[in-house]
């Protein structure tokens, strides 16, 4: 900062911060994290603060770096699947699936239809679970504790369902290259349908409790606005990009699996309830997406082929040794585009290079720009709306 002075903060139109300075003061360095309640893990933000105003915030990563890409050099292709679970630990199914899509593309194998439907169903269930965590923790960031517990109560049902299918609550190792580990249990679809019927009113309840809350709207509307073109330049994806008003969903725009057959909307804020690109829009997109996921799950239940003569591992290769080549494949994760760049030398059963393009990592990279000139409470609101999972940022 060129000039230093005491500040008077006022707000034009309730969101543009106006800073006036007169007396000479110093800026204070405030280390937010790595242990801090609202950095959602071990992110560290080094903020220069002038009173309550953050003049700059520099993110520091790597506290949860577990060398995913180094591990991939010594583990063969199917062995990488469990590692992907541990990247974004809230959306294990989606991570596995994205990785499997990449390897399957490299192997060029055909996937049984029922497997595809199972994958879509478990991934969408996991997407709801992940959004529930995102919305719940966002409530906590803004001081509303109760919605968080409501979210976790409902998430528990999903985790139970996924545990029933895969045997694990969060780190599933369920989606395998070419198939899934097991067929879904008998009556699974019935239970999922029960959950969908149970959960629909709960989405409305959550909407009324949190999203339409006057204070919540006041805290998030117009905060941390990201224009669409800058969002694209930052390669934002998922709910973040859609929050900026770009109708871009890989399930629609780069369709994979059976998504072309399924009917669902891509919710984009219309600027009536929220300012396009602000924290509230991003929250809104997540809230609306849960309902779309419910629609997808219902369609999966009705369209899924029967289990007669079905072997979930029929297309699973005995030995994964792709031909030499490279692939970049991605899937629409709850937090955005999760991509895998895999390079195979054609001889080995281990990838030469496996890079995970993590959505949180990319979304977080805009933090420095977003945080300039915000108040500390707004900074918390912005971090929460980015919805980072540090396991995926650091990998």
């Amino acid at each position: 900062m060129a000039e230093q002075g005491s500040i008077r903060v006022s707000r034009k139109d309730d969101n543009v911060v106006v800073i006036e300075k007169d007396l000479a003061t110093e800026e204070m360095l405030l280390s937010m994290g790595p242990q801090h309640p609202s950095t959602h893990g071990v992110l560290k933000l080094e903020c220069m603060t002038d009173g309550e105003v953050v003049t700059s915030a520099e993110p520091y990563l790597g506290y949860l770096h577990r060398c995913f890409e180094k591990h991939c050099e010594v583990v063969d292709y199917p062995g990488i699947v469990p590692y992907t679970d541990r990247m974004d630990y809230l959306t294990g199914m989606n991570n596995e699936w994205a990785y499997c899509i990449a390897v399957e593309k490299l192997l060029d194998i055909e996937i049984p239809r029922r497997v595809e439907f199972i994958r879509v169903m478990v991934s969408e269930l996991n997407r709801i679970a992940s959004h529930l965590v995102a919305i719940g923790t966002y409530g906590i960031d803004l001081g509303a504790f109760t919605p968080f517990l409501f979210c976790f109560r409902d998430r528990e049902h999903i985790l139970n369902l996924l545990e029933w299918a895969s045997g694990a609550r969060m780190l599933y190792n369920y989606v395998w290259i070419g198939g899934v580990a097991f067929d879904i249990p008998a009556d699974f679809n019935k239970r999922v349908k029960e959950f969908v019927d149970y959960f629909r009113p709960k989405v409305v309840e959550l909407y009324k409790l949190l999203t339409e809350n006057e204070i919540f709207v006041k805290r998030t509307k117009g905060i941390g606005i990201m224009p669409a073109d800058v969002a694209i330049n930052y390669a934002w994806s998922g709910p973040m990009l859609r929050g900026s008003g770009v109708k871009w969903d890989l399930r629609r725009n780069d369709p994979y699996s059976v998504y072309p057959e399924l009917d669902f909307n891509v919710p984009v804020p219309d600027g009536k309830f929220s300012d396009v690109g602000d924290c509230l829009s991003r929250h809104l997109v997540r809230a609306l997406e849960m309902e779309e996921s419910l629609n997808i799950i219902e369609q999966c239940i009705s369209k899924m082929p029967g289990s007669e003569g079905f072997n979930p591992r029929s297309a699973v290769p005995k030995r994964v040794r792709p031909k030499a080549g490279e692939v970049y494949a991605r899937a629409e994760n709850p937090r955005g585009e999760l991509g895998f760049y895999i390079q195979s030398d054609g001889k080995s059963t281990k990838p030469l290079r496996c890079k995970a393009r993590s959505s949180c990592f990319v979304n977080l990279s805009a933090m420095k720009d977003l945080s300039k000139g915000q108040l500390i409470p707004d900074l918390v609101a912005i971090i929460g709306s980015i919805d980072i999972v540090l396991g995926e940022v650091d990998r």
Binding site: L61, G62, H65, C67, E69, K70, E73, K105, L106, D229, V230, I232, N233, Y234, A235, V246, W248, G325, E326, V327, Y328, R330, E337, G339, Y341, Q343, R353, K355, R357, F361, V362, S365, A366, D369, D394, R395
Partner: protein
């Protein structure tokens, strides 16, 4: 790829985009590799990479406004390091393409693309962190995932982990 085989539509779109770039930059870019999984071309003159990047982003027929991914790669056999950028045009055109840029293994440097795509900033920092190639002109080239004082570049194929870090035994 055998001759005469009909390429999938997505590869044809990439090839069309590539033709525009080839026309502008000629021998600075390599031939188009029309494989099905990830069609790509290589930038042969690394110094021209920022110009090519800017051209690809801004040309009205290309509009590669979205950098999906930038991966560092170690080409040990060729004594080279490189980056692979997966680009696509979001909302404008359906085409996508990958670009490779390479540099020598020892003390090599690649001009940065962080001013063309903001997202490249952190991706390049990660590539530097893991492989050790320099990105000339990068606004803030520091390690991002490893600690500042970590020795060596972990994803190089000949990487040997250091014995101890601040008195902590590393390999176990």
């Amino acid at each position: 790829m055998e001759e005469g085989r009909v390429l999938p539509q997505s590869v044809q779109q990439s090839a069309a985009a590539y033709a525009v770039i080839r026309e502008q930059f000629g021998s600075a870019v390599s031939d188009f590799d029309a494989n099905e999984t990830m069609p790509f071309f290589e930038v042969l003159e690394a110094a021209k990479w920022p110009d090519i990047a800017l051209f690809m982003r801004d040309h009205p027929k290309l509009k590669f406004n979205y950098m999906a991914c930038l991966s560092g790669v170690d080409y040990q056999a060729e004594e080279q390091l490189g980056i692979v950028c997966n680009l696509e045009s979001l909302g404008e055109f359906p085409h996508r393409i990958a670009v490779k840029v390479k540099c020598p293994r020892d003390g090599g440097s690649i001009p940065t693309a962080a001013y063309v795509w903001h997202t490249a900033n952190w991706h390049e920092r990660e590539a530097y962190d893991m492989f050790g190639m320099q990105f000339t002109g990068h606004p803030d080239l520091r390690r991002i995932l490893c600690p500042e004082d970590w020795e060596g570049f972990p994803l190089r194929k000949d990487y040997r982990v250091q014995e101890s870090y601040h008195g902590i035994k590393v390999p176990y």
